[in-house]
Amino acid sequence: MIYFYDGSFEGFLTVVFEAFRCKQEPEAIIPTRSNIQIPMGEQVTIPRDDQKADRVWMAIKKKTNKKNARMLNIAFFAQEAQKEMLLWRYLKKVFTCSDPGFYQNMLDEDVNGVVDMARRVKREVHRFQGFVRFEKSVDGIYFAPIDPDHDIVRLLTSHFKARYADQPWVIYDTKRNYGIYFDTEKVLEVVIDDPNFDINTGNLKDHAKDHDQDHYRHMWQAYYDAINIIERKNHRQMKNYMPKRYWKYLPEKNKR
């Protein structure tokens, strides 16, 4: 059976629920809005059902633990083909295996696969805790565009909310075209239709920029240049830690 779902985590858990209920083993689980090539076979579209999703979620927590359930949720945000099938195989083994400690068995290919996938997502979350760059806008909101590999913008919320509790901010995924907005009280998901920033550089347009913004941007660029020790130049190592694909929105890696 080939399952289609809406792309959300809850939608995926609904598929797991239905696949177990109907005993119809999936050959593929595919988000409806995707350009993955669809294999031959019988197809069904499963609408998201939060109650069913919740039952699967509770079962995961019961069969493993809270921390592990959270790990699965993080793994789901990976931008990787076949992630649904990997998670499906994992869940099937966890639900049917007689050993209650099975979910920790890293010798198993699928357990190892899911744990590693979650690690890749977490690694990028940690990187972006550092690589997010805010620009101050004329109305006092701090705006940061990002373009990460994985769909991590929601996973950044708690960190930035705790750190910048007294300033309103937006972190916006320009590739997936949605972001999070914190107004100093609550967090909202937002879609910007008419952007007042340049999509290529991420910079706020002149009329939208706080009058001090460029000054601090220049100071930061000057600091970046001054702190370098020329005798120790090591480009390869720099790129290892900060790959080129992340440079787009970093002022220190762009024109002075």
């Binding site: 920790q104 068995n105 890293m106 010798l107 198993d108 290919e109 190892n112 940690h126 805790q129 550092g130 690589f131 997010v132 760059r133 805010f134 620009e135 101050k136 701090y142 940061a144 960190h159 705790a162 750190r163 910048y164 509790a165 007294d166 300033q167 001090d212 000054h215 601090y216 220049h218 100071m219 930061w220 000057a222 600091y223 970046y224 240049d225 001054a226 702190i227 370098n228 020790i229 020329i230 005798e231 120790r232 130049k233 090591n234 480009h235 390869r236 190592q237 720099m238 290892n240 830690y241 900060m242 970093l250 220190e252």
Partner: protein, 415 residues
């Protein structure tokens, strides 16, 4: 006026860059109704062209200095541009950078002006105002100025997450030769005081939750490698002492960069000894995470680390009687000693062998560097590969060729 601050920033960041410490880890300061917090693991915000992490705004308060240390760019007798921040300028920079997520906090050091106490008080003024008036809870790393009074160092500990005092030269004789105005006492006194302060604060916080924290991210130090002739053995012994006695979080090794030419007290080198520095860090890691003693890594007959291979491999080749290690039965401590196996994979091996026998394919998936590890382990497929019967010289031949291929560039820089 703005251009003036920009110029100051350029001069005072340039003057601070030879302090290699960058870490922003070890503190869990939370945000209580102000700006910022500290993350236990630390966060790197950028990386310089030389590959070092930038996590803190690292600047000197001033690069004027009353001392004349041979190895230092800011020494009194150098003709360099001199400047000093106003307290307000530095606070504005820190907060404005922080709000844009450029940095994790402030690393504040300074040349010594007027007296150690006067300088220390200026540094305290900056961090005191950041913590109180600006309610800044981001990470702060402060230098304790050697020779500053106990009261001032005690105040610094209340505001800073980490404090450090640099030992700079790995033996007192050579420190006195290169920095005639300094001695080890002026370094060890504040170091011991900070150590004591951390212990007392920890004890008090067990009794009263609200007792003040004192340098919650601990203290660190830095020493310069290659400005004086001490061998690696002396350096590692010194570092091991710091970890054991003063309970330091980190010792940083800074390959000597010849910033002052024409001083015959210093060696004439073209390039900083980056490979030697790297080997020292590897040895340091072995002491902090791999349960090695300094005298297992080097001894009286082996005073220097081998530039051609990492110290863990060198240890294994010098101790063939301990290998091969059976990864399905050996204790954790022994698995940690296998070249090519890191802390994470060692833990994975020990935690997972109850599920079944750990095989070559498993090790590969766990991220073990099998090209090295395969000569030192026993697991079910391995004896067939016939690799563990080799003599140390044979293994060295196979591995050091590999290592040398990677290390050639670095080695050339060293010699």
């Amino acid at each position: 006026m703005r251009d003036r601050v920009l110029k100051k920033l350029e001069v005072l960041a340039d003057a601070a860059k030879y302090d290699v410490s960058c870490s922003s880890s070890g503190s869990t300061r939370s945000n209580q109704g102000g700006l910022g917090n500290a993350m236990k693991a630390g966060i790197c915000h950028s990386f310089t062209e030389d590959g070092r992490c930038i996590s803190l705004l690292k600047v000197l308060f001033t690069n004027h200095c009353i001392y004349d240390c041979a190895y230092c760019i800011n020494r009194r007798s150098n003709e360099v541009k001199r400047t000093t921040f106003a307290v307000e300028e530095l606070i504005d920079l820190t907060v404005s950078f922080y709000r844009r997520n450029y940095i994790e906090g402030l690393f504040l050091s300074s040349g010594v002006i007027v007296s150690p106490d006067y300088t220390m008080e200026r540094l305290n003024a900056v961090v005191r105002r950041l913590r109180t008036e600006n309610r800044f809870n981001g990470y702060i790393h402060m230098k304790a100025i050697p020779g500053a009074s106990k009261e001032l160092v005690a105040e610094a500990g209340l505001h800073a997450d980490r404090i450090s005092v640099n030992i700079e030269i790995p033996s007192e004789n050579n420190l006195k030769l290169l920095a005639p105005e300094k001695d080890y006492r002026s370094v060890y006194d504040p170091m011991n005081q900070i150590h004591e302060g951390i212990l007392v604060s920890k004890e008090e916080r067990m009794k009263y939750k609200k007792a003040p924290r004192f340098a919650p991210a601990g203290q660190s130090t830095q020493l310069i490698v290659g400005a004086s002739p001490e061998p690696d053995f002396t350096i590692l012994k010194l570092a091991a002492g710091f970890y054991r006695q003063q309970n330091l979080k980190r010792v940083y090794y800074s390959g000597f960069v010849p910033v002052n030419s024409g001083d015959n007290r210093l060696p004439a080198v073209q390039q900083p000894p980056l490979n030697r520095e790297n080997r020292l860090y590897q040895a340091d890691w072995l002491m902090r995470y791999y349960q090695f003693n300094y005298d297992e890594i080097l001894d009286k007959d082996n005073l220097f680390l081998d530039p051609a291979m990492d110290p863990k491999l060198a240890y294994a080749l010098r101790n063939p009687h301990l290998f091969p290690v059976d990864i399905n039965n050996a204790p954790y401590e022994m698995i940690l000693r296998i070249p090519g196996i890191g802390v994470r994979s060692a833990k994975l091996i020990v935690a997972n062998r109850r599920f079944g026998s750990v095989s070559f394919a498993h090790l590969k998936r766990m991220g073990v560097a099998l090209n090295r590890a395969k000569y030192f382990i026993l697991c079910k497929e391995l004896p067939a590969a016939g690799l563990t019967g080799l003599k140390p010289e044979q293994i060295k031949k196979k591995l050091v060729k590999n290592v040398a291929a990677q290390g050639v560039q670095l080695c050339l820089e060293l010699y």
